[in-house]
């Protein structure tokens, strides 16, 4: 086969990482995130056959149809994507998993599953495309809408928002990041690092709803987010197979080593923020509560927590790859059962 044009390290053109045409509103933040996912997967040279894309229900959850056409996808039930992801992780621990969710899907109907997904540490990249509203049902507030923000109709939200990043850190998630759909420069290396992390990685991305929550007075609009975001650092991701990695010295300050050997460099720090300090991370998010500032970047990166499959002492071989002979139990259990009940 002759490949025309640019290809990545496994010889695939970027087109191979695209999906079907988006049916979201023109200018939707989610489409920008989709582009970043495509770019990150292309740059990393991801093998699409060994990746699955999962989602719940909502505008965000439609997006897995728009990227990685050669990967299996599952647009499941509202709020239940974490349960599907858990099952997939149990069945085939070799698969990479990208889960796309929204603020309604995660912070309301699926909250119970979300927290247990973190507790189990199922390896996956969990993306929340966070716009503060229910887009697909025409613009009702979600549980991440800021106190005092208002809808186009003038309706004001009087309830405080749930900070998914703070929640995730508290629950022991080892990779917690926040970004903005309009900042691919930050988002792409962030996604790449998340995919290199062996465990659950949460990326909470402000992704403005162009139709229902992009007006004056919204705290999740493009304008507001651009004006109020404060990146903690610039990111530079060096994958494990990159030759420049040789220059990297172990223990270098403000560089995060990923489970697969890749390194995420944190550059141009405005202040001395250490994302490996859990208390500092929680303190930072606590300071931001009720403020106008949206900090973005790697909020927390821990290590040492076992993945669900490791904690459960699973065999390395995916259960889905077991042959019938391997699945089939021997007769001992039956013999023991029969003699035990006579």
């Amino acid at each position: 086969m002759i490949t025309v044009g640019k290809t990545n390290r496994i010889g695939k053109p970027i087109d191979d990482y695209k999906g079907g045409a988006s049916t979201l509103c023109k200018g939707c933040g989610h489409d920008s995130i989709t582009s970043s996912i495509i770019k990150a997967c292309y740059e990393l040279g991801i093998d699409s056959h060994h990746l699955v894309k999962l989602s719940g229900i909502g505008c965000s959850s439609k997006t897995p149809a728009y990227f990685l056409k050669y990967s299996h996808g599952f647009n499941s039930l509202h709020g239940r994507m974490p349960t599907i992801a858990t099952g997939v992780g149990m069945a085939n621990r070799k698969l990479k998993t990208i889960g796309v969710s929204g603020d309604g899907d995660t912070a309301s109907i699926g909250m119970g599953h979300f927290v247990h997904l973190i507790r189990r540490n199922i390896p996956m990249v969990y993306i929340v495309e966070n716009n503060g509203v229910y887009g697909l049902t025409k613009g009702q507030f979600s549980a991440t809408a800021d106190d005092g923000s208002f809808l186009k109709t003038g309706e004001i939200n009087h309830q405080p928002p749930i900070d998914l990043c703070a929640l995730a850190i508290q629950l022991g998630c080892q990779f917690v990041a926040r970004s903005f759909s309009g900042d691919p420069k930050q988002l792409v290396p962030m996604l790449e690092a998340a995919m290199a992390h062996d465990g659950m990685a949460l990326i909470d991305i402000t992704s403005p709803c162009i139709t229902f929550n992009d007006h004056e007075g919204s705290t999740k609009s493009n304008k507001y987010t651009r004006e109020h975001r404060q990146p903690l650092h610039d990111l530079d991701f060096i994958p494990y197979y990159d030759e420049t990695l040789a220059d990297y010295k172990d223990g270098e300050k403000f560089s995060l080593k990923m489970s697969d050997g890749s390194v995420l460099k944190l550059l141009k720090l405005d202040k001395d923020y250490d994302p490996t300090n859990k208390l500092a991370a929680l303190s930072l998010l606590s300071d931001m509560e009720g403020s106008n500032t949206i900090v973005t970047g790697i909020i927390f990166k821990g290590e040492g927590k076992k993945t669900f499959q490791a904690a459960e002492n699973m065999i390395e071989k995916p259960l889905s790859d077991l042959s019938i002979n391997e699945i089939k139990p021997g007769t001992q259990a039956l013999l023991d059962f029969n003699s035990g009940h006579q």
Partner: protein, 598 residues
């Protein structure tokens, strides 16, 4: 005293105790020692939804002819619990026997029964110096007293104790001593019964006493279940606990790793989601629950049906609605599970009626889910699942484990693609691929929304009809794949009885009584699956009067049959039992006689 007919090897013993007192172990020893005398026996544990302190009963039916369904009448009542004595006394007929703890004797308000007062509480102090253990050990004393009273062989009691405490020699000794102490007291103080006696026969040789839940678990295990996701709920928990035990013991790799994975989920929605995700990705997922759990799984069941993902739900039914009577038996989920979810869903249900079938269908359901690519229910109930049933040892399953219509990389490359929802074989069952197959032709997008044959999104009515009608064809294919009904009788009778699940022993006994005592002959069909097979439909069609025995208020199976075969609607007579107790033959006989105008 009124004279009663002497009964040999035909007794109902009921023991009333307090739950959490350890009486279950004593009752099992009592039941098993009778079983070891070669006499058919069954035990029904009637327990409260509580851990300690509420009344609980254990009913043992001994019957040499093998009639071991629950019986409404009690011959010997053992009263150990002050709270239930007054009601317990009402269960006895004139001339029956009461064995009662001495301190409760002031509560006896009858003089038409045979009363045996035993100082159990005093005796246990003598035999058991450890005060904490007395609550438990006292129960062994009544085993000894009953043994003398009805003639249980002491050897078989020791054998039963050894079985119960095979790994705890100290407990075995304490229990044996206590039983002997009770027996010695009885020898000195009471005469053996003139009415009820047990004689050793040879009708249980080689047989087992099994709870349906553990049999289902063994079947699932042999069906290759390797992802278990569950949320604890009575009366299903022991199904998953048994399966997990088998997996941990027999499914380790050479280096001690698990060739399976278990998750105790955050709720039943999650349990079913995990099963769905795991099966979608190529594992063999299963969950077990009861009515409230299936309600929570309803949305997921619709997705598994429509997106065509293999999944197995074991529903051990209990009394509802809501929490209902969580520790009482019922067949009240048949209708709900058949149609579980919203929209045009219709599922496959396997309905075992014996421990052997629990085991066989446990295997079968794992295969059928893969072969039909859908959610399949195994409908058990509390009576079948949690009580002890006599059966033959299980035979090795000769069928092979099936993965269904799964396409390999080679097939995909040869065919240059596939259409996920196309009916290639005319049976309504499409082909599928798993993530991880290294072919650009493998991927497809799974969704609960309208989809074309190639799995792409559509809202077209034409595509919708094509797909939903194919799913109906698949349901009709299932009709030919599910276990056939069991047919008993000549097939030439005008009247028939139809039943399913745990009603079987009571129906069999009722057939005997109706024939012998009332001269009424019936053919009998036991349905073992939905959708109904062709032969099942024929059977109903070929009989003039069809009495449907169900353990629910509204006749849920009847509703399904009437809706699918309206031409047969009028010949169906509902015989319904729904008080939470296991169904008895007399409950069936009474209603049938009434229906017959007798």
């Amino acid at each position: 005293m009124v004279s009663k007919v002497k009964k040999i090897n035909d007794i109902v013993i009921e023991v009333a105790t307090e739950n959490g007192s350890g009486s279950q172990s004593a009752n099992n020893i009592l039941m098993r020692s009778i079983f070891y005398m070669g006499i058919p026996v069954s035990g029904k544990n009637l327990f409260p939804s509580n851990i300690q302190g509420l009344p609980t009963w254990f009913s043992i039916r001994v019957n040499e002819e093998g009639w071991v369904a629950r019986k409404d009448e009690v011959d010997i009542m053992v009263c150990m619990n002050e709270k239930s004595v007054v009601d317990d006394l009402k269960k006895l007929s004139v001339g029956d026997t009461l064995i009662i703890e001495d301190s409760l004797k002031s509560l006896i308000n009858r003089d038409d029964i045979n009363i045996i007062i035993v100082p159990f509480e005093e005796m246990v102090k003598e035999i058991c110096p450890n005060a904490r253990l007395r609550r438990m050990v006292v129960n062994l004393l009544y085993v000894g007293v009953i043994a003398h009273f009805i003639g249980i062989d002491e050897k078989t009691i020791v054998q039963a104790i050894q079985k119960q405490f095979s790994k705890k020699p100290e407990a075995a000794k304490l229990n044996t001593d206590a039983v002997k102490f009770g027996l010695e007291w009885a020898v000195k103080n009471i005469k053996p019964s003139e009415l009820y006696q047990l004689n050793t026969v040879n009708k249980t040789a080689g047989k087992m006493l099994v709870e349906g839940n553990e049999a289902v678990a063994l079947g699932l295990f042999y069906g290759g279940a390797n992802v278990v996701a569950w949320y604890p709920i009575t009366p299903s928990s022991s199904t998953m606990e048994s399966l997990i035990r088998y997996l941990k013991k027999y499914k380790k790799s050479a280096d001690g790793k698990n060739e399976f994975c278990v998750v105790q989920a955050e709720d039943e929605l999650a349990a079913f989601g995990v099963v769905t995700g795991a099966s979608w990705a190529g594992a063999r997922g299963v969950t077990a629950t009861s009515g409230p759990g299936t309600s929570l799984m309803a949305e997921g069941a619709g997705l598994a049906y429509f997106a065509e993902i293999p999944a197995v739900i074991v529903d051990v039914q209990r009394m509802g609605p809501s929490t209902g009577l969580p520790t009482r038996t019922n067949q009240g989920d048949i209708l709900a599970c058949y149609y579980l979810s919203h929209g045009d869903t219709k599922h496959v249900l396997l309905i075992p009626g014996t421990p052997e079938e629990c085991y066989e269908f446990g295997f079968e359901v794992m295969n059928l889910a893969q072969e039909l690519q859908t959610v399949i229910f195994l409908m058990s109930d509390l009576d079948l699942g949690m009580n002890n049933w006599m059966c033959d040892p299980f035979k090795p399953i000769t069928k092979e484990i099936s993965k269904g219509k799964l396409l390999s990389k080679e097939q995909l490359e040869t065919n240059k693609g596939f259409k996920r929802y196309a009916d290639v074989d005319g049976d309504g069952i499409p082909y599928r691929t798993l993530p991880g197959v290294e072919s650009d032709y493998a991927a497809y997008f799974t969704r609960g929304t309208g989809h074309r044959e190639d799995a792409t999104y559509t809202e077209s009515s034409v595509d919708w009809l094509k797909n939903i009608d194919r799913l109906k064809r698949k349901h009709d294919t299932a009709r030919k794949m599910v276990p056939e009904s069991i047919f008993i009788g000549t097939g030439k009778q005008r009247r028939a009885i139809v039943a399913y699940g745990s009603s079987d022993p009571a129906v069999m006994e009722a057939l005997f009584i109706l024939s012998k005592t009332h001269g009424l002959e019936f053919d009998y069909m036991r349905i073992r699956a939905l959708p109904t097979t062709e032969k099942t439909n024929e059977f109903i069609k070929n009989h003039e009067v069809v009495c449907f025995v169900e353990q629910n208020r509204d006749g849920q199976m009847i509703a399904i049959i009437r809706s699918e075969k309206p031409e047969d609607a009028l010949k169906i007579k509902p015989i319904l039992h729904y008080d939470g107790m296991s169904i008895s033959a007399s409950a069936i006989v009474k209603q049938i006689l009434k229906a017959e105008g007798r």
